[in-house]
């Protein structure tokens, strides 16, 4: 029995091993002296990544009226931070290629995560947040801890599934009871190990319990609500069968009205298939 989330992370691949470009991009962007030319040059070293970025910026996800045909134009128009966040997202999705199919298929897992990301991005947009892509990335990763658990402790996850079937409860509570910690804690620990931003770690760690988030409560609450929306839409699955319960104060903090929900459903539906394709597209 693993004693802590960290115990599951031994031997986990580093982000840099999947995308060498990711690390260099990280350095340049955080040095804050990066020029568009430098950033574009780094991205262009990875043909697959360049193609994915061009697909993303030319998709319904951004909805720009004219075709963007070069990486440097993409960086100028979308912004360096956003390009960085999207690069992070595409690199991470590609890190996980297999999990035991008896839990969920990889396709279904990412469908749920992307639907959650799109819903969070729409909510952040409605609230006029400045960088909506970080909401997308945090949502994309909200259940990543579960991939580690399916891979590292499949028997305990089987036990958890049976436990919540016998004693109806949300999956994360079953994980806490059977394993001692939940996928949110594992995901948070993974993000620490990968040295991704603290904000991302906190949002992932508290996406079921945003009331305990200290610095990024709003962000965690948005992802919590977006998760419920993705569940209600029945877009894919990350192993949880039911819509999570959301406290009234969380809805209030997030600041959307029930009347907005049909619009959010519609926007997620319109973008989902396109975005899913982009994450796996390598050829231009």
């Amino acid at each position: 029995m693993p004693a802590s989330p960290r115990d599951l992370l031994d031997g986990t691949e580093k982000l840099s091993s999947v995308s060498a470009v990711y690390e260099r991009l990280n350095e340049v962007i955080f040095s804050q002296r990066a020029t568009v030319e430098q950033i574009s040059a780094i991205i262009m070293q990875d043909a697959g990544l360049s193609a994915r970025i061009l697909r993303i910026v030319n998709s319904a996800y951004f909805g720009f009226p004219k075709k963007i045909d070069t990486v440097s134009r993409a960086v100028i128009i979308v912004g360096t931070q956003q390009i960085h966040d999207l690069t992070t997202a595409t690199s991470i999705v590609r890190l996980f290629t297999k999990i035991p199919e008896r839990f969920v298929s990889m396709q279904s897992f990412w469908k749920h995560s992307v639907a959650c990301g799109l819903a969070a991005r729409v909510i952040a947009g409605l609230n006029r947040e400045s960088n909506v892509e970080r909401y997308f990335v945090a949502s994309l990763l909200h259940d990543v801890g579960r991939l580690i658990m399916f891979d590292k402790i499949p028997e305990l996850m089987d036990k958890t599934f049976y436990h919540v079937l016998e004693h109806p409860a949300p999956m994360f509570k079953g994980e806490q009871e059977i394993i001692g910690f939940d996928h949110a804690a594992v995901g948070g620990a993974l993000i620490d190990v990968w040295r991704l931003p603290d904000s991302l770690g906190e949002v992932v760690r508290y996406h079921h319990t945003p009331q305990f988030a200290k610095r990024y409560r709003l962000e965690a609450s948005v992802v919590h609500v977006a998760d419920a929306i993705a569940h209600a839409m029945q877009c894919g699955s990350s192993g949880e069968m039911n819509v999570p319960s959301i406290e009234e104060e969380t809805w209030t903090l997030v600041g959307i009205k029930p009347e907005f929900l049909p619009q959010i459903f519609e926007l997620v539906d319109r973008q989902l298939e396109g975005v899913l394709k982009m994450f796996h597209a390598d050829e231009p």
Binding site: M233, N242, P244, E259, L261, F265
Partner: protein, 113 residues
């Protein structure tokens, strides 16, 4: 108790908190049963939402578009009941999510035939 938007109100729902106009005059007492005529009156008074007893809200929630076979709607209702078994049913957001999920599932079923 759930706050329900006026266009989601349905006949048979029970008012959980007296509805008043801007000056505090009571338009509907707590415990009144919503009727079609009552909805018209509330609309005339510019009321946007009403507190409704949660159980009666779930029971009488507006059913999806009439073009969908009621058989599918009923099946969808049951599935949504399971899907939302851990959800906070007193919330107007949950009510709306359940309505949308029911509509979505019923539509998918009717498309599959």
């Amino acid at each position: 108790m759930a706050r329900i938007a006026l266009d989601r109100l349905a006949a048979g729902m029970i008012v959980d908190d007296a509805v008043t106009d801007l000056h505090g005059t009571i338009l509907m007492q707590k415990g009144s049963v919503i009727t079609q005529n009552g909805i018209k009156i509330l609309r005339m008074w510019g009321i946007s939402e009403v507190s409704i007893d949660s159980e009666s809200a779930a029971e009488h929630s507006v059913s999806p578009e009439p073009s969908v076979d009621p058989r599918f709607v009923e099946e969808a209702h049951r599935e949504v009941g399971v899907l939302f078994q851990h959800a906070n049913h007193g919330s107007a957001f949950t009510q709306e999510l359940m309505r949308l999920a029911t509509l979505r599932i019923a539509k998918a079923k009717s498309e599959r035939g």
